[in-house]
């Protein structure tokens, strides 16, 4: 999703650059006000973590893989403002140090992934938190949903920029980018929720956005670990993702294709539309995203999207059963022996937080403290 030089024209580069500059400087000020002299070490370390985590490829389907974006994860862990700063730092280093993403497109890339993905994703996260039940499951579902949307929204923003720049027509990029990232987003959602669950299980004080009311006391971490630990974890994820996908399919799809996509239009004008009359896959049950017998095209598209999402989920679940290896791994059950009252980063007096962390260093400094997640999986592979 890193846009290279030359793909965004000057006006788009300047506009997105100005927006990013504003957002990052506001975030920088907010974050440093909240964190004081801890700003540099903690945000620096988190940025390095996101950078390393982005190197992780996760499987999408046999043969292809995506990688983590981490915008919502960072926002959920260290707060939205700090999250924007961290993402901007990662993207800047990638652009300047590694030529990953163009220098002149840096503003656009920060806008897509830190502002749209991070701040926008965080806003969605807040919204979902208020909609979902106030339980740990609700929290993880909200994080998963927000993570999924952040990836899709960042991809959509990138397509819009490419279209506005006159590089690629929207009708071509938007469907391609969004559909690919709708799948990549599932991995992002799953990883975000899993990471939050595991971090909550051992260091609940490190998740800045976790509602304090949800952690009444001593039992908190183990509750977080178990309620999301077995079975129900995947279930809650599936339910959350399903709700979000259905909402998107119903609400967004009618607007996604109010005109025929670029390819179809070209086909009509270039006169090879006839060839398109005989599709390769001729038994499509929902031709042109319309449901036979529904007259209103908008409604028809919504319904087709809905059915598509339902079919996709059914297919994924069935595939999972068929391959039999589907057993959600247990969350790392490293419940730290002593639990602090929540020390949310962006809210507490940092000196106090520093001391409580000092106390904790001894407890968790044991090299075996976070158990290798691999242990549980070694026995099940053929």
């Amino acid at each position: 999703m890193h846009i290279p030089d030359g793909f965004v024209n000057a006006p788009t580069a300047v506009a997105t650059g100005a927006a990013s500059l504003g957002a990052v400087s506001i975030s920088l000020r907010r974050a440093s006000r909240n964190l004081g002299e801890r700003t540099v070490p903690l945000l620096g370390v988190t940025a390095a973590f996101i950078f390393a985590a982005q190197m992780l490829n996760f499987p999408i389907a046999a043969g292809t893989s995506g990688h983590l974006l981490g915008a919502v994860l960072a926002a959920a862990l260290i707060g939205p403002w700090s999250g924007v700063v961290v993402m901007a730092a990662v993207l800047t280093v990638q652009a300047v140090g590694m030529a990953d993403g163009g220098i002149t497109a840096l503003g656009a890339n920060i806008f897509n992934m830190a502002v749209v993905g991070g701040l926008g994703g965080y806003a969605v996260f807040r919204l979902l938190l208020s909609l979902f039940p106030r339980t740990t499951t609700g929290y993880f579902a909200a994080a998963a949903g927000a993570a999924w949307i952040s990836v899709v929204a960042a991809a959509a923003a990138a397509s819009f920029e490419l279209a506005v720049s006159g590089t690629v027509p929207l009708g071509i990029t938007l469907p391609a980018m969004v559909s690919v990232h709708m799948i990549i987003g599932l991995g992002e959602a799953l990883i975000t929720a899993t990471v939050l669950a595991a971090v909550l299980a051992s260091r609940p004080d490190l998740v800045a956005t976790f509602p304090k009311g949800l952690l009444p006391g001593q039992r908190s971490a183990s509750v977080a670990a178990t309620s999301f630990g077995r079975g129900s974890r995947l279930l809650s994820f599936v339910v959350g993702a399903l709700v979000v996908s259905v909402a998107l399919a119903v609400l967004v799809s009618p607007f996604a294709s109010s005109s025929p996509d670029g390819l179809e239009r070209v086909a009509q004008e270039k006169g090879f539309a006839d060839a398109a009359q005989a599709p390769v896959w001729r038994f499509s049950p929902l031709p042109d995203y319309q449901v036979p017998g529904i007259s209103d095209p908008r409604f028809g598209t919504s319904l087709a999207g809905l059915l598509g999402v339902a079919a996709l989920f059914a297919a994924v679940v069935l595939l999972g059963r068929a391959f039999g290896k589907w057993r959600p791994g247990a969350a790392p059950a490293a419940t730290a022996p002593a639990l602090h009252p929540l020390a949310g980063h962006e809210h507490t007096d940092h000196r106090h937080a520093g001391h409580s962390h000092r106390a904790h260093v001894h407890l968790t400094d044991d090299p075996n403290a976070p158990p290798d997640p691999d242990h549980e999986h070694a026995d099940r592979t053929p």
Binding site: L42, V45, A48, A89, G102, A198
Partner: protein
């Protein structure tokens, strides 16, 4: 993935007049070249040839290995291929089409393809030249002297230091995972990757806390002092003046 993170190995090649330039000079000059080339209309093919000529000349001066630079440039090609390579075949606004082997190709689409390919390649080459001839601390110092907010550059320099450590940590975990026969193949296995990421986060964050406490106990108060102040020399001013004059001349004629 390993090849894409060349700064992680701090791969800098030798010394040269380009290496010895002040980082500010290189940042201004090479970012300037990228900006100017991106703003040049795609039709002026000769201008792009000249930009490429300047870059090749600087690359020659810097004595960077050719294969290294080529590999970096090739790294952006996938994006170009995915996004733009089919445009010549579909762009309907195509004035003046061509027939290549019986396939109609639109002129406007070809122009867009040429535009993004040329500019992306120039941008990557310029950035590679900058990053491969400048150490990361120098780069940060240069950015800082060019008025990048100090808080931001400090965060980046911290990040740079720990990235090595965390990537190594990550590789160790991945090795452990592979040694136990994990083969990521399906989407739901992403949860296992999630556990890895959370271990990585906990380990790295706890390390950050330890380092922070160590810094506090050594009198850290939120500011950092750097040694070795930068100095602009004659070579720097000459380099910038000549480059600016040449770029302006090309851009204004194009």
């Amino acid at each position: 993935m390993s090849g894409t993170h060349h700064f992680l190995t701090d791969e800098r090649f030798g010394t040269s007049p380009i290496h010895r330039l002040d980082p500010r000079t290189k940042i201004l000059g090479l970012v300037g070249l990228t900006v100017v080339s991106v703003s040049t209309p795609a039709g002026a093919v000769w201008a792009f040839a000249l930009y490429a000529g300047i870059l090749l000349f600087l690359l020659g001066l810097s004595r960077l290995p050719v294969r290294f630079v080529l590999r970096r440039v090739a790294a952006v090609l996938p994006f170009v291929v995915v996004v733009a390579v089919f445009l010549p075949f579909f762009d309907r606004a195509g004035g003046g089409g061509y027939n290549i082997g019986g396939v109609r190709v639109s002129g406007a689409g070809l122009l867009v393809l040429w535009n993004v390919t040329a500019k992306a390649a120039l941008g990557v080459t310029a950035t590679t030249l900058l990053a491969a001839t400048t150490s990361f601390p120098e780069l940060i110092a240069g950015l800082e002297r060019l008025r990048t907010p100090r808080l931001f550059t400090l965060i980046i320099s911290f990040m740079y230091r720990y990235t090595f450590l965390f990537v190594e940590e990550f590789r160790r975990m991945r090795r452990a995972m592979e040694a136990r026969n994990f083969q990521g193949r399906w989407l739901w296995q992403a949860a296992i990757v999630g556990h890895m990421v959370s271990s990585l986060f906990l380990r790295s964050y706890q390390r950050g806390e330890r380092v922070y406490l160590a810094m506090l106990s050594r009198g850290y108060d939120g500011s950092m002092r750097t040694a070795a102040p930068l100095a602009l020399r004659r070579a720097d001013t000459t380099f910038l003046a000549v480059l600016a004059a040449v770029l302006l001349a090309i851009r204004l004629t194009a």
